[in-house]
């Protein structure tokens, strides 16, 4: 039986604007007291009217452009009508017919995932179910959300995870949201079905309440298997009315059917009469495009041109801040060697600890690079860490800690001669197999108490043993 998963994902991203989408209340709702950032508009009081947040709209366009979307010259808001206690007005202001951005794509390992749209809408309040009642906090009501809808082009849970990682990275790069899945500023809802033997399609299932990237992967994988099993037993295929909504139970590691109303939801969309349409001229779109920094893919390509590997380049481009500090460092020396040297230090010792980008001093890297023939690689790694933590000059620290290696050939020759004399058997081994030089170099390091530069020492030994 051939199984082809078909996955699309809907992502909601909370923008980190100062104020809400349609009113001037603070958009901060994380860990604040309930119902302290509300007003007639976001509380849905009688007579209140919405006025859209300019920055939010611009950021939606910015995201659309970053995803290769076209921007509609004229777009407008619509009302999506449904009842829920945390939906203050009994409708959500969103976009349907004319969203801000359409027809983009995200490239995942050579596979183009099409993006149907990126549009603007408002968040609901928060509800907490306690003892048969629902408690409601409207601090989050009206916070700006961008909804990004992909076509069902994803073919596996792994690819879905990569898609989400990349999307998250871009969103953070352009600075419009923290896109933190655990905190809820990025919410992912995959819709899954399966094609069996290239002809039968299982019914669609939309999965909600997935609170982590691993959860998304697990939920998709679970759902694929569940659908295949179900199809094998009931042979029901997809039609226009059997799409279901399922929740993800992270504890039990399974999806479950959520209570559905009979008949499909009818949102009765119509254009929002309280908000006039919004237009973007070509000039305005270009202006917004100019504010987009170089995105990860572009940076990775640039770093590879410097001679860095795929892995190194991706690591460096991981966040905008990290990339920026790398670029600042290599601005001191354009050589590929320095690039590689700095990359290793950033990705190695410095990335392991949680660093404060602002504390990194590019000069330290250059200094160590210039003296690298006199320092062991272990010493260099230690010094970059020490100088980061203390702020002190690494060369000063090196001197204090006696880390400078002897490259002085005279002194090294003396050590080398001692080693050759003391280890005749090793010398014989070397004559048979040049790779055995390692032991002698080791002895040289021992005799010099680690201060010998191993590369130079090796060369001297080889010269003497010729």
């Amino acid at each position: 039986m051939k199984i082809t998963p078909i996955i699309g994902i809907e992502v909601h991203v909370e923008l980190k604007t100062k104020s809400k989408m349609f009113c001037g209340c603070s958009a901060d709702h994380f860990h604040v007291e309930a119902n302290i950032h509300t007003c007639p508009v976001c509380l849905g009081l009688p007579g209140a009217l919405p006025v859209p947040n300019k920055v939010a709209c611009q950021w939606c366009v910015k995201l659309g452009l970053s995803l290769g979307c076209s921007i509609n010259e004229e777009s407008f808001f619509e009302r999506k009508n449904y009842f829920y206690p945390d939906l203050a007005k009994g409708y959500q202001i969103t976009q349907l017919q004319k969203p801000f951005a359409i027809n983009g794509r995200l490239n995942i390992d050579g596979h183009n995932i099409r993006i149907n749209r990126a549009h603007m809408e408002e968040d609901t309040g928060k509800s907490v179910h306690v003892d048969g009642s629902t408690l409601l906090d409207f601090n989050r009501s009206g916070v700006p959300l961008v909804e990004i809808v992909s076509e069902p082009d994803l073919i596996s849970a792994e690819e879905a995870k990569k898609y989400l990682n990349k999307l998250q990275q871009i969103i953070r790069y352009i600075g419009i949201s923290d896109a933190d899945i655990e905190k809820g500023s990025m919410r992912c809802e995959p819709t899954v079905n399966v094609c069996i033997d290239d002809q039968f399609y299982t019914p669609l299932a939309e999965i909600k309440n997935v609170a982590s990237l691993t959860g998304v992967m697990n939920a998709i994988n679970y759902e694929i298997k569940r659908q295949v099993d179900e199809y094998q037993s009931n042979k029901i295929t997809k039609n226009s009315t059997n799409k279901t909504t399922r929740g993800w139970d992270a504890d039990k590691n399974q999806t479950f059917l959520q209570r559905e109303k009979e008949g499909s939801a009818d949102y009765r969309y119509f254009p929002e009469p309280d908000i006039p349409p919004i237009t973007f001229t070509k000039e305005q779109i270009e202006e917004i495009r100019q504010t987009i920094p170089k995105l990860p893919d572009e940076k990775i390509a640039e770093y590879k041109l410097l001679g860095l590997s795929d892995y190194d380049a991706s690591q460096l481009a991981d966040t905008k801040e990290f990339a920026e500090i790398f670029e600042k460092i290599i601005s001191l020396d354009q050589s590929p060697e320095f690039a590689k040297f700095s990359a290793n230090l950033l990705i190695g010792p410095l990335k392991i600890i949680e660093i404060d980008i602002n504390k990194i001093n590019p000069d330290h890297f250059k200094e160590l690079f210039d003296k690298k023939s006199e320092l062991s690689s272990t010493a260099i790694k230690q010094l970059i860490l020490d100088s980061y933590q203390s702020g002190q000059d690494p060369l000063v620290l090196a001197k204090e800690q006696n880390l400078f290696q002897v490259s002085d050939t005279g002194a090294l020759e003396a050590f080398a001669k001692e080693v050759i004399e003391a280890n005749p058997k090793a010398v014989e081994d070397y004559r048979k197999n040049p790779l055995a030089i390692g032991f002698l170099v080791g002895q040289l390091m021992k005799i010099s108490k680690g201060s010998a530069n191993p590369q130079t020492g090796k060369e001297i030994l080889e010269k003497l043993l010729k």
Partner: protein, 465 residues
């Protein structure tokens, strides 16, 4: 100092500034009148005596409306005052903020003496569908005052207040003004902020004044108007200013749409309008009959669909969680409108109903554009009949829409219009003349209405109460 309540705004301001009487005298006079009449009339849902008198003691009479008693239709939010939309669902709702327009009126020194009755949620043209009982027509207590701003119109006609404000979605200012023989001025859509007025049909709701004279209404409009950053549909202009008064109507072309005289038109209404036409002619206007104005019947359909669709959505916020009672408190009329609106928007009907209606709306706007190429203003009857009897609206699914058919077209197109008294029928019930102009041309409406009023005395008549 009796009968201060019978003064116009102009007269009251004059009297206050020349210290003939105080704001307290004025407010007290209105409150006394309300006490005397309102048990019968039922113009008011809430009367505010204590607070009003308190304000009257300290108000600055140099403000444009300093010390003037104001009656507010109960769909305007007035902070700390019960605001019900004449519905039981909000019978305990103390408004948490002031509508922008109310702020402006208060800043101008007006003193709110009460919230007036309306058809619940402003759904209606009779004020009979208020959850607090109908308001009666001061000219004949067996008849209706019209609606939905019936309470405000009746309060003005009965001199229970000096000035009042109402709102119009399609006729709700002009029609009760016509049935009560007072002046109702509906501004251009977007001229006055809607922020803080309980939404009915968002795309045509227009708050406006209902007063005793054209000048009073215009003064109020000056204060109420102006761009509001809180209302994205409010027009980008500063406050409207009254233009110079015309000495005559020379050079003005006024259109009379023949289709506005339907078979349902009461003969006396037609007669009254034709007499008004003569007066306007004498004043120098050139009257042109407009034979090809789009039939108002299309406006009825457009209005019905659009209004009920928007209403069904605008009333969705009333779930009893954050304020008011739950949805079981909606009256039958509200339920009916919500149901039809939900139906019109439902999957499968959107294209045929809602979208079609919005397209016909374009045709209605284009038709007016065409007519205004030929004429400067358009006049006609406000209502096909004079005030109907109490009970007339019961069981009539399309009562409001049919009654308002002559004002729906201009509302749908967002035009300004006024209703001024122009005659009485043989039973003594008032007849209203409406004057409409292109968008933002309240100046023309004012000038024509003012000149007509100055040359007639219908506005000086008062009911025998």
């Amino acid at each position: 100092m009796t009968d201060l309540n019978k003064l116009t705004l102009k007269e009251a301001r004059e009297g206050l500034k020349t210290k003939k009487f105080t704001p307290v005298d004025l407010v007290q006079s209105c409150l006394d009148r309300i006490k005397l009449l309102d048990v019968k009339l039922n113009s008011f849902v809430t009367v505010i005596s204590e607070e009003a008198l308190k304000q009257a003691k300290t108000v600055d009479i140099n403000l444009p409306l300093g010390g003037i008693p104001l009656a507010v239709k109960d769909n305007y939010l007035t902070k700390d005052i019960l605001t019900t939309a004449s519905s039981k669902l909000l019978d305990n709702y103390i408004a948490q903020y002031d509508a922008t327009t109310i702020k402006k009126l208060k800043n101008a020194g007006a003193i709110i003496i009460g919230k007036t009755n309306l058809d619940a949620w402003a759904h209606g043209s009779s004020t009979e569908t208020s959850d607090y009982g109908p308001t009666l027509n001061p000219w004949n207590l067996n008849h209706l005052p019209g609606g939905s701003s019936g309470g405000s119109a009746a309060a003005i006609a009965a001199d229970e207040t000096i000035i009042s404000v109402g709102s119009e979605t399609a006729g709700s200012i002009r029609q009760p003004a016509a049935w009560c023989g007072v002046v109702g001025f509906k501004p251009t859509y977007g001229r006055v902020s809607r922020y803080g007025i309980i939404a009915m049909k968002s795309s045509t709701d227009s708050p406006g004044p209902i007063c005793k004279t054209v000048d009073d209404a215009a003064t109020l409009l000056e204060i109420m108007s102006g761009h509001d950053p809180r209302d994205a549909t409010s027009i980008n202009e500063d406050t409207w200013k009254k233009p110079e008064i015309r000495q005559n109507l020379n050079g003005l072309k006024i259109g009379l749409p023949l289709s506005y005289f339907s078979p349902q038109t009461q003969p006396e209404v037609k007669e009254a309008i034709l007499k008004a036409v003569d007066i306007l002619k004498k004043l120098g206007a050139q009257i042109l009959e407009l034979p090809d104005v789009l039939d108002p019947k299309y406006s009825i359909a457009v209005y019905t669909i659009l209004q009920r669709s928007e209403v069904s959505s605008n009333l969705a916020r009333f779930d009893g969680i954050r304020y008011g009672h739950d949805r079981s408190y909606f009256g039958t009329e509200a339920k009916r409108r919500i149901m039809l609106g939900t139906y019109s928007l439902s999957a499968g009907y959107y294209d045929a109903y809602y979208l079609k209606a919005q397209k016909v709306r374009t045709l209605i706007c284009q038709d007016f554009d065409k007519q205004f190429q030929k004429v400067d203003a358009i006049i006609g009857p406000v209502s096909p009949t004079t005030a109907l009897k109490v009970g007339a609206s019961e069981g009539q699914a399309m009562f409001g829409e049919l009654q308002d058919m002559l004002v729906e077209p201009s509302s749908i197109a967002g035009l300004p219009g006024i209703s001024i008294p122009c005659a009485f029928d043989k039973t003594g019930l008032p007849i209203g003349l409406q004057i409409m102009a292109p968008q933002k041309r309240e100046d023309l409406v004012y000038q024509i209405a003012k000149l007509f009023e100055d040359n007639t005395d219908y506005h000086l008549q008062r009911p025998n109460l």
